[in-house]
């Protein structure tokens, strides 16, 4: 599954500019340190965090995309930084829980 497939199926809105990537699993966390310790390359990172620190962290562990859930507004500086690194930032009004359920139904698991 790719970020393109997921965006189409789950109506995830793109915030940054990026090339599509393969999504291999899911990590849910609102802590950068947790993600740095536990995320796997190709994970979709579900979070309500929008601070620009999520971008270098997402880049360091090479997640497939960051999905900002619950309709949280993403600051422009976060979007700009993500575009610079080519990190997909996706947005949904769904809660993390609801989105996780749908990703599970699509066959994605935590890695």
């Amino acid at each position: 599954m790719t970020t393109k497939d997921l965006m189409e199926r789950l109506e995830l809105r793109p915030m940054s500019t990026f090339e599509h990537r393969e999504v291999k699993g899911v990590i849910i966390s609102d802590m950068v340190s947790d993600v740095m310790a536990s995320a796997r390359q190709g994970d979709l990172w579900l979070t309500v965090q929008t601070h620009k620190s999520i971008v270098p962290a997402a880049n360091l562990v090479d997640v497939a995309a960051v999905v900002v859930t619950s309709g949280k507004e993403v600051p422009q500086e976060t979007i700009d930084l993500a575009s610079k690194f080519g990190i997909p930032i996706l947005w949904t009004s769904m809660s993390t829980f609801a989105l996780a359920g749908k990703l599970h139904d699509l066959g994605l698991r935590s890695t």
């Binding site: 609102d30 802590m31 950068v32 340190s33 947790d34 740095m36 310790a37 796997r40 390359q41 190709g42 965090q49 601070h51 620009k52 620190s53 270098p56 962290a57 880049n59 360091l60 562990v61 090479d62 600051p75 500086e77 690194f85 080519g86």
Partner: protein, 184 residues
């Protein structure tokens, strides 16, 4: 001699808080890691000739690396955290390297040691190379790479506005402001 081509994995992960303390008497800055929760900010106390005040804390973690092939453990007890260069100083060697590496799609991160000891004994080149290997081994390097550089390249910590990759101010509902240098 071992000839293992090491595949690094994180080991012995410890979550806790990084505290930044400053002596308002002499300006010395020190940083340390605590597994304790809730270190209050602003608390002042005296120790020898210093008057320490905690100016910042951040949720963070520490780790060692272990090779999944041969079992060798590399300790990173002297690593305080990783910082993202925000291009805050045009003339900073970190920023100059960052710009050069960006052209070849290599992203730079700065490895910090605990102050003030790390000013005398920063992370060795060997350990920086292991960290670099570790981050590249876990990513798709056809897209981009990571390079870890020492914080001692920063000529003036008191002017650096780099962002630590840890959880500071992340739970605030306020929009993030311009980060003030931590070491000023």
């Amino acid at each position: 001699m071992a000839t293992c081509t090491h595949r690094w994995q994180m080991a012995h992960v410890r979550f806790g808080l990084i505290a930044f303390e400053k002596c308002f008497h002499c300006g010395l800055v020190r940083t340390y890691f605590s597994a304790e929760d809730g270190l209050p900010l602003g608390e002042e106390y005296r120790e020898d000739d210093h008057f320490w005040s905690r100016v910042e804390t951040a949720q963070s973690f520490r780790f060692d690396l272990q090779c999944s092939l041969c079992g060798q453990v590399e300790e990173f007890s002297e690593l305080m955290g990783l910082m993202h260069c925000t291009a805050c100083m045009e003339d900073c060697p970190v920023e100059q390297q960052r710009r050069a590496l960006e052209r070849e799609r290599t992203w730079l991160v700065v490895a910090f040691g605990f102050l003030p000891q790390a000013l005398q004994r920063p992370l060795s080149e060997r350990k920086l190379a292991i960290l670099t290997d570790y981050f590249n081994q876990r990513r798709d390097v056809t897209r981009s790479r990571i390079k870890v550089v020492p914080f001692t390249l920063i000529p003036d910590l008191s002017r650096c506005g780099g962002e630590f990759l840890h959880d500071v101010g992340m739970l605030s509902q306020e929009p993030p402001g311009e980060r003030k240098p931590l070491f000023s």
